[in-house]
Subunit: 135 residues, 6 copies
């Protein structure tokens, strides 16, 4: 079994806020991430697949197919979007980097037949990242 | 003369749109950057000062002072903000990376007495950057 | 379960030397790392926590709390310090990157209640890193 | 148990092509990677070892020894080489990043006595990497 | 005047060799870069343009146009190519990073009407780069 | 004229302190950089040369020669050293990043005959850098 990781990028805006908390509780809990007009990040997405390299091609996955799947299911709907407003996963759920990783896992799981989705890592900044492995 | 460069970061959202153009012209001109709900970036700001290192301290500038000036004049008003809505420079001017670099230059010029502001560089993504040197 | 990784930096000096070896044995074993006056590095610390994102906030951990814990327990005592002289862990133990990773794990373990410390990674240079997961 | 990772670099050329496929099938499958005259990459190799840090030295492995092993077994035969032509592993097997990771694992396994080879990661570009852990 | 820099990547193979020198002189002069079967790199290209940001759009250049020009004139003919064999500039000239930077300048000069080509930088590895500014 | 930049690394310890100031003045001026036992950094050195690429070799400089000069004049005396104690330039001058850049320029100037030393850049951390161009 070999793991193959491919990176992607998307730029999006978001805001952290809990509807059931007061304005001052939200400000206290999320700090600048709660500023009312939102902010944004250059997200880095690392998708890791795992499987046996194909005897003939030598690849765990057909890279153009992987690229196509991720662009269609994640980059197109997330890139240059306001995550809270335009992505249904985050209409009532905070678009934290943890929840973004889980949402991307949901969008990608089931797409691959000869290899397995092993993990999804999302970097919100160069210093903060979340990883989800489906369990 | 030695040049001293210090990097800073801020995360902000923005949208590119010209008020005097139609919706389809804006979409054609700015592509995804014109999506109506905005998006965002992790901006990297590199401030370069130039001067003679102080004979005693060995520094071109007092770094805590530089840090304080940039935080007060740029990071506080730009970080976790919607540039179009919350920064007066961009109420009628597109917050392109070029214009952001010039706006930051304006905010910093005049702040330093024993050294000169040499350039302001702003990276919007890891691949795109603008530099302004005041001329 | 989601893993959340946050990066930190500290600059420190150290020297590798075994008290029970001769001067020439130490020089042969550690090379330049044994030079008598010490040297230093910009260390990068990656702390990984693991847990269920909170249903309300969407976070595995309260990030300002994580930041506070790591600053108080690791950054304050290690940053701009001579590890051999100023950190009790290394009074009789070599401050190799492996031992630094274990010492930081010890300092952080037990600090988190709703999530678990999953791993501590320390980069001594851009090319060398140690990871400890508590076992 | 602590994991110690050391990075190495090599620059090599290669070409992806399956002898049992037609020219147009190969072009369709591998795209630009099938161009007849080959191309190349700056490969980054991350070798991870795992073990108990030595009580006296504090290291999982003697770093100059690790360096020597990797240079002799991998860097010397792969660096500035045409992988298809000059490396026997790839005389009949495609030098994909997955197969390169497995080939390097084979070259390194068995070289270490007081610690274990834990994984081999190879970055072909800044966006694509393969990891092999021997199973 | 603002400078706008955009980065691009291409992967190519090459070999350094002077036709008028003997085999041993070439090996002595170029070392591993003279190995007979060639090797390769992930090249990073940074194109810098300079001009007044457009009053209406706020850009020094239309970024999709810049992208199109560089892809057509440089990336398409250089990416996944053997520079010595497939690029006419290097049929009799060594494809050093210095000469690659000059060749790219020649390919791009004259393409821009409302701004000027300011410099072309080419990184052959993370440690070596050449810059050409047309003089 | 083409500029050729080559990067080097060295790890060193240092301490900022002015002999003619009191202990509290030094602490106030330099903060953590004044801690009595010193600290350290992974310094990145970028040496830029400028000249006409040689008609035959295609290089601005013979890279192994450049490498040899920088290793002999800078890396050997600075790497894994305590700059205050072991480098004569800093026996009475603060080893700030600005002064380190100037000291390296002095050590390298005059070493190149067919090209010119154009600039010396020193990164003390990933966020702070000094550049000296000899004027």
């Amino acid at each position: 079994m070999v793991k193959l990781t491919q990176s992607f990028e998307f730029a999006a805006s978001h805001r952290l806020n809990c509807a059931n908390l007061s304005e001052s509780e939200n400000r206290s809990l999320f700090g600048k991430c709660n500023y009312p007009h939102g902010h944004g990040h250059n997200y880095i997405l690392e998708v890791t697949l795992q499987g046996e390299p194909n005897d003939s091609t030598g690849g765990v996955v057909d890279l153009p197919f992987l690229d196509c799947v991720v662009r269609e299911r994640v980059i197109e709907p997330f890139d240059h979007r306001n995550l809270n407003v335009e992505c249904p996963e985050f209409s009532e759920v905070n678009p934290t980097v943890e929840n973004i990783a889980r949402a991307i896992w949901q969008r990608l799981s089931g797409a691959f037949s000869n290899c397995q989705l092993a993990s999804v890592r999302v970097w919100e900044t160069a210093k903060t990242c979340a990883e989800y492995s489906g369990e």
